[in-house]
Each structure stands twice: as structure tokens, then as C-alpha cells.
């Protein structure tokens, strides 16, 4: 079973490379019982969305 620390590492790498099947299964098993890591993962998705907005110069909608 992965520790939370391992899971946060995988959640980050998930943004940079395709995870292996084993990694995905282990991740899913852990997330099913761990709210803190689930939050962590969602927050990384949010960061991705925010930086994407940022780099497109759309920091706030309708500012032009």
C-alpha cells in the first residue's frame, strides 16, 4: 500500500507522464480511502487549470 507521501509524488507525476497500470491501480485504491490525498490531487488539477488560464493571458474573464 502506498503512503500519502508516495501518492502526492504520483499525483504530481501524473501531470507530466502517463502512469503505468499498476501505478494507476495503486493510486485509485489509496484515493478511495484517503480524503486528504484526494484533495491534494484535485488541488494539483486546479493549479494546472490556473496556470493554463494565466499563460493565455486570461487571468480574469472579460477583462478586455
Amino acid at each position: 500500500m502506498l503512503s500519502c507521501k508516495d501518492v502526492t509524488r504520483l499525483c504530481s507525476q501524473e501531470q507530466d507522464r502517463p502512469l503505468s497500470l499498476t501505478e494507476r491501480l495503486n493510486l485509485r485504491m489509496h484515493l478511495a480511502i484517503c480524503k486528504a490525498c484526494t484533495n491534494f490531487r484535485q488541488q494539483l488539477f486546479f493549479l494546472r487549470a490556473a496556470t493554463q488560464r494565466y499563460r493565455e493571458g486570461r487571468k480574469t474573464p472579460d477583462e478586455d
Partner: protein
Amino acid sequence: MSTADVGTGIDWNDPSIEKIRRDMVRFAQLQLRDAGAAEDMVQEALFSAMKYESSFAGRSALKTWMFSILRNKIVDHIRKSSREIAGADLVSGSAEDGDDFDALFNERGHWNPEDKPPTWADPEASMSQQQFWDVFDACLEKLPPKTSRVFMMREFLDLDTDEICSELGISTSNCWVILHRARSGLRLCLDSNWFDNGEAAC
């Protein structure tokens, strides 16, 4: 440069262009951490935009279009100059930052009760608030410079980790470690400075 001969109707003297230019300078400075280079880059991007304005398709996305030109200029600049950044320097720099985020976990690798990431209340709504972006900027600037550089290349310039590794002469796993550290730092900073009132996860 005259724009009178092109019929797309971009008024380069419009005050909104100056506002976009200022945002571009700010963006470039964050990427390059060099005010002079940032100004040069934005100048080049503006010249390109004027030169190729006929390829601009729709006015609503003008800023997005100009930012994409700027992003390409910055990527070119990094590709040309990154070999000047010593990869070894980057590696030792990351070791020096330490594993700050290890402190959030106990010896078995589980979250300390007080460090569990809480649920963030309506993060999507934050993105339409200027104050959120001010905090976001401040958090980005708080990242250690070398960590920030890798993060910027990945998230703002949209380079993949293989390219970042080869540009900076670092290993892929080192790249992942640095990116993980950047995301953890940014997450923690936003958590304590913006999403302060989230409920603790159990």
C-alpha cells in the same frame, strides 16, 4: 512600423494594447527573472504581432493571441540560452532547498493531522477574482528561483519534461522531483493565503 496597409483593424495605439503590453512584460519577467530581457522579449513579440496581424483571426482573443506569440519568443530564447544555465547548479540548488515538504508527513509517510490538505471552497470562482491572482503571483514569486524556472517551463511555456531535462541537462527523475516540489509549494501557499477557511479533511 505602419499598420495602415493591413485590414484586420487592430489599433495598435489603443490604450487596451498598452494594458496587454504591461501584462506581457509582467509575464515575461516571471519567466525570465530579468527585467531587460523581458522588455526585449515583449518588444519582439509586439513587432511580430504587428507584422503578422493579418493572421490574427478574431478580436475577442487578441490578448490570448499576443500571449501565444510571447510564449513562443520566450521558448526560443530559453532554447538558445539554456545551455548557459549550469545543470549542475540547478541540481545542487534543488538539493539545497531540502525536502521541506517531508515535514508534512509522519515517519510512515502519512499526513500529519494538521497538514492534511483541506477541501478548497469553490476554487473555480476564485479564478475570476483579481485578488486571487495577486496571491497567485506572490506565491509564484516565493518559489525558489531554480524550482520556479523548471515549473515555468513546464506549466507556462508548456514544454514537456523530456525537453526541460535536455535543455537544463538534468535527469528526468530530478525534473519530476523539482516539479513536485514546485506544485507542493504553490499548493501550500495558496492554501494558507487564499483558501484559508477550507475545512480540514479527515
